[in-house]
């Protein structure tokens, strides 16, 4: 009984951890997409030197 409870708690913690990691991954990829890849002219011009300096494909 006790081990079943422990397993349930462990699984819940793990799924909560994975959900947090998934959100962080989506946020991180979105940030890098905006600064490194987005086609908007304003974003491109603001991030221009950063894109070149960090080896992102530019122009």
């Amino acid at each position: 009984m006790a081990s079943t409870t422990a397993t349930t708690v462990g699984t819940t913690e793990r799924s909560e951890t994975l959900r947090a990691a998934a959100i962080a991954l989506i946020l991180g990829v979105s940030l890098v997409f905006l600064t490194g890849f987005a086609y908007s002219e304003v974003i491109h011009n603001a991030a221009h030197d950063t894109r070149h300096s960090l080896s992102f494909p530019c122009h």
């Binding site: 947090a20 990691a21 990829v29 940030l31 890098v32 603001a46 122009h59």
Partner: protein
């Protein structure tokens, strides 16, 4: 957990981004500015030369839209976007470590950051050397797709190869995956007609990789140092 990842990522990214932005100001940005002086007269004189083809070479155009003025505004936006990139890199790095079930400490965070640099810096640079404005370059979307594909393939391959408990067949598959983007080949222009002197371009390529390596290393060190400080408090 989400609060912990976001707090550590924001702080580590902010610190790493600030240091790298300062470094860019004295390393890569002066070369970008120098390259633009070669680019502008060539653009102005390109019109009368009817036979001067641009086949396969994307003209470098910023359009007429807003862009930060040279000097402090340009430095400010470069710093902001570098910090945002560093925060994004920190989030992705921690997410990958959590997905892989790896404990986050100083040594492991730095090792994963080094792998991140190999995946997003060295491997794509083997096909698409970091370029200054005005360099000859293939189609942008094709280059971006190859860059992203190579980064993902290299990251997965490194993970599959370096895990000690993986079967030899998986490791062999990892080597195939690692090499595949380079056999497919990066998109390149048909004509190599860069307006930038080769010495400047070579210097920039090397510096750009050093700057990216430092960004990954600083993010990794920051995560390793900050992660234990944001540990959840044990009740009681």
């Amino acid at each position: 957990m989400l609060t912990r990842i976001l707090s550590v990522g924001l702080l580590a990214g902010l610190l790493a981004g600030l240091l790298v932005a300062a470094l860019q100001q004295v390393t890569t940005t002066p070369l970008v500015l120098a390259a633009e002086t070669y680019e502008k007269p060539a653009e102005a004189s390109a019109a009368p030369k009817a036979q001067h083809g641009h086949h396969g070479v994307e003209a470098h155009s910023h359009g007429d839209g807003w862009k930060p003025a040279d000097g402090m505004p340009r430095f400010f936006f470069t710093a902001i976007t570098t910090i945002a990139t560093a925060v994004g890199v920190a989030f992705v790095l921690m997410a990958a470590m959590v997905f892989a079930g790896v404990p986050i400490d100083e040594r492991r965070a730095l090792a994963w950051a080094a792998a991140g640099f190999i995946a997003c810096g060295l491997a794509p640079a083997a096909g698409l050397a970091p370029e200054l404005p005005g360099s000859a370059a293939g189609d942008l979307v094709a280059r971006q797709l190859w860059w992203v594909g190579t980064a993902i393939a290299t990251a997965v391959a490194l993970w599959a190869f370096l895990r000690a408990d993986h079967h030899p067949v998986v490791r062999l598959g990892a080597i195939v995956l690692l090499l595949a983007p380079h056999f497919i080949g990066a998109p390149h222009p048909h004509e190599l007609e860069s307006k930038v002197p080769a010495e400047l371009a070579a210097q920039f390529t090397a510096l750009s990789l050093v700057v990216q390596a430092l960004l990954w290393a600083l993010v990794g060190i920051g995560i390793g140092l900050l992660w234990p400080k944001f540990a959840p408090k044990v009740a009681g």
